[in-house]
Symmetry: C2
Subunit: 402 residues, 2 copies
């Protein structure tokens, strides 16, 4: 993939791509905060999605996946927080279908062009009266209100807008996500959405999304729990009027990098705002035997409770890092592993280096901690993001769910 | 395996089997507590071991494994806490060999009959002068002092003695272990030791140990981190003079069940005394498709941070349990999973049951929480043990290691 100069892809102020509208309102699912919203394109959009691998896939996730897989087209999405509509049986499935039908009626489109997404408490049914009453209140705005309506225990909305030029056509990509948190009861029901006015075939978009999710959303961890509702959906409505994207062209590479930028930004925002987190932790693995090894090692390190607690305590405890590396099945040269934290080398050839502990401890007080691991086993790399393990994580997740 | 009546295997007060001696003293590795000890049999014993799968296996673990694998014979073990002698390179290996030689000299036996075990800080070299000076102070006692000398952040020693009769010969099995904790720096360097005066061939003993460790020590988790020093060693010196054990005989079954009782008791004691733990959590999975499925699901549940935090908060949050089940690759009938906590049914056929939340919450305040999961997918079972995730876990593991 070509390396892009910064003027080819630019992060811009939050804005929706041409033809996308949305809204976010409060209908009483949460106590006072926004809890219900929609997002739609004025024309049908090419659609791609990636979904949780949890065997208990929630009804809205299953429905949206089915719609997208039919012909990779979607026009609108109905979104809610507070109730995940997961483990809700036949009633939950019928409620998801009802939501789909209601939004199809409102937009006057075929139900097959409508998806739904929910996040919140597992096992509770959606209060369909509140949703039915809320639907007429949704208006087509260009505001960012919908990015608030999907939040649960998140501290901030996660958003990014980037622009690039494809064959002389200005293209905008705008993404938003909800992270790990909840009101009731703190399931990491992660949702991500990317909209763009680029013109791209649905199956091409699906390939690009799946490929990029592997190295972004699939490489973050807050607590190691894969929820029943996780989903990342990308809609491309083509209104930028660029020539449709084809693999191997410069336009494809530019758009793919812009998409990667959006997805990795959202992923990092989710990790940094993990439940109770005070720090974003990034792990970069180099010289791995394979990409899978690199990604596995990076994710194991940012996922280790012992490493996470040490980082909360600003403790350069590299023994926990090397032990975590050794507990993976990645190919290792066990006498030649190097570790650095925030650029300060701690371990060379698997042995302790002398280092200025006060200096390392001081850098670990920053809001971002970077762990570099060199495996000396090949030329592949891997990257992952997580957060520290804090008193507040335990507090948030120990409180009673009713 | 036949079901034994309680009078065939009895738990008795702590005592060493015939011919075993030990001691535990303070030599300055820790500030004030016992940190150094030995354990030996007056005659060579059949020996079996299981060892960490971590690729960075510590020097003492590697040395003891090599000795046992030669001919399944061992006579003595030198033990220390505070320094794990892990990731210590050639110097660490030579130090382990030196310890072995010193103890061989003291016992006047061949070094191939000596093992060593260390637990504590990764990456630091053993202070060999302290060990050399400490060795002459070790005396052959029948006390339980050695069970203290291996502890780090453990709150209590973990011990058990059981007796059974094999063909008219009284046989004693005594086990002890150290759990998850540390002084410096809190690695879960788990060590377990079982001594017995039973007569049993080393390879038979190895088979029994490996088989029982799978369903006991390998089914506990405190924080999901596999250390570099984990090891369980069993010594059988034959002084009970029973006919040597052979598979398929009643004696074999009795001894095997006694061994299972010792190992599962030590494993549960480690889980209950996990870092910061206030509760032992036991998960029993029934009607799994395979034993591996049952064990995987049970271990995933007791290992989930979200489940562990909910149990600390006395929150019957079954959504986290079912989500954890779904995140495994166990064969599931996703519409027919049942969940109960402390005997109170919460979920039937994967759907919420009405339950008295105050009553469930009250039972979750007890020091032991039992989660029962019925997968309706076969006739295999699985069991695992863990503990809750508490403020104190974070506190213990966030403190600076120097």
């Amino acid at each position: 993939m070509q390396v892009l100069t910064s003027n080819q892809i630019q992060t811009v102020a939050f804005q929706w791509p041409a033809g996308f509208y949305s809204d976010g309102i409060h209908i009483g699912l949460r106590k006072a905060k926004k809890d219900f919203g929609w997002l739609f394109s004025k024309v049908p959009a090419a659609a791609a999605g990636t979904y949780t691998t949890n065997q208990f896939q929630a009804a809205p996730t299953k429905l949206t996946k089915t719609m997208i897989n039919q012909d990779h087209q979607l026009q609108g999405l109905l979104l809610n927080s507070a109730v995940a509509n997961s483990c809700t049986g036949q009633q939950g499935w019928e409620n998801a279908l009802q939501e789909q039908q209601w939004l199809a009626n409102k937009l006057a489109v075929d139900p097959s062009l409508i998806g739904v997404a929910s996040t919140g408490l597992i096992g509770a049914q959606l209060p369909m009266d509140l949703i039915k009453n809320g639907l007429p209140q949704l208006t087509p705005t260009k505001s960012d209100a919908v990015t608030y309506a999907v939040l649960t225990t998140d501290q901030h909305p996660k958003t990014i807008s980037v622009q690039c030029e494809l064959s002389g056509h200005l293209v905008t990509l705008t993404g938003f996500a909800k992270g790990s948190g909840m009101i009731h009861p703190k399931m990491a029901t992660m949702l991500g959405f990317v909209t763009t006015d680029a013109q791209v075939d649905g199956s091409v978009l699906q390939h690009m999304l799946s490929d990029n999710v592997d190295s972004t959303f699939n490489q973050i961890t807050v607590d190691g729990d894969t929820s029943t509702n996780d989903m990342v959906v990308t809609l491309a409505n083509g209104l930028a009027d660029n020539p449709s994207l084809t693999a191997g062209t410069p336009d494809y590479d530019i758009f793919n990098q812009a998409l990667h930028l959006v997805l990795s930004s959202l992923a990092k925002q989710i990790a940094a705002d993990g439940e109770g987190a005070t720090k974003l932790v990034e792990c970069n693995v180099t010289q791995a035997a394979t990409r899978m090894d690199g990604q596995q090692v990076a994710k194991a390190i940012v996922g280790s409770n012992l490493v996470k607690a040490a980082i909360f305590g600003e403790d350069p405890n590299w023994g926990r890092i090397i032990s975590t590396i050794g507990a993976t099945d990645a190919e290792l040269d066990i006498d030649h592993v190097d570790i650095a934290m925030n650029g300060i080398p701690l371990v060379a050839d698997s042995l302790a280096l002398p280092f200025d502990e006060a200096a390392v401890k001081a850098t670990l007080g920053q809001s971002q901690v970077v762990i570099d691991v060199d495996l000396h086993a090949g030329d592949a790399t891997g990257q992952a993001w997580g957060c520290d393990l804090t008193y507040n994580y335990v507090k948030i997740n120990a409180s009673y769910h009713t």
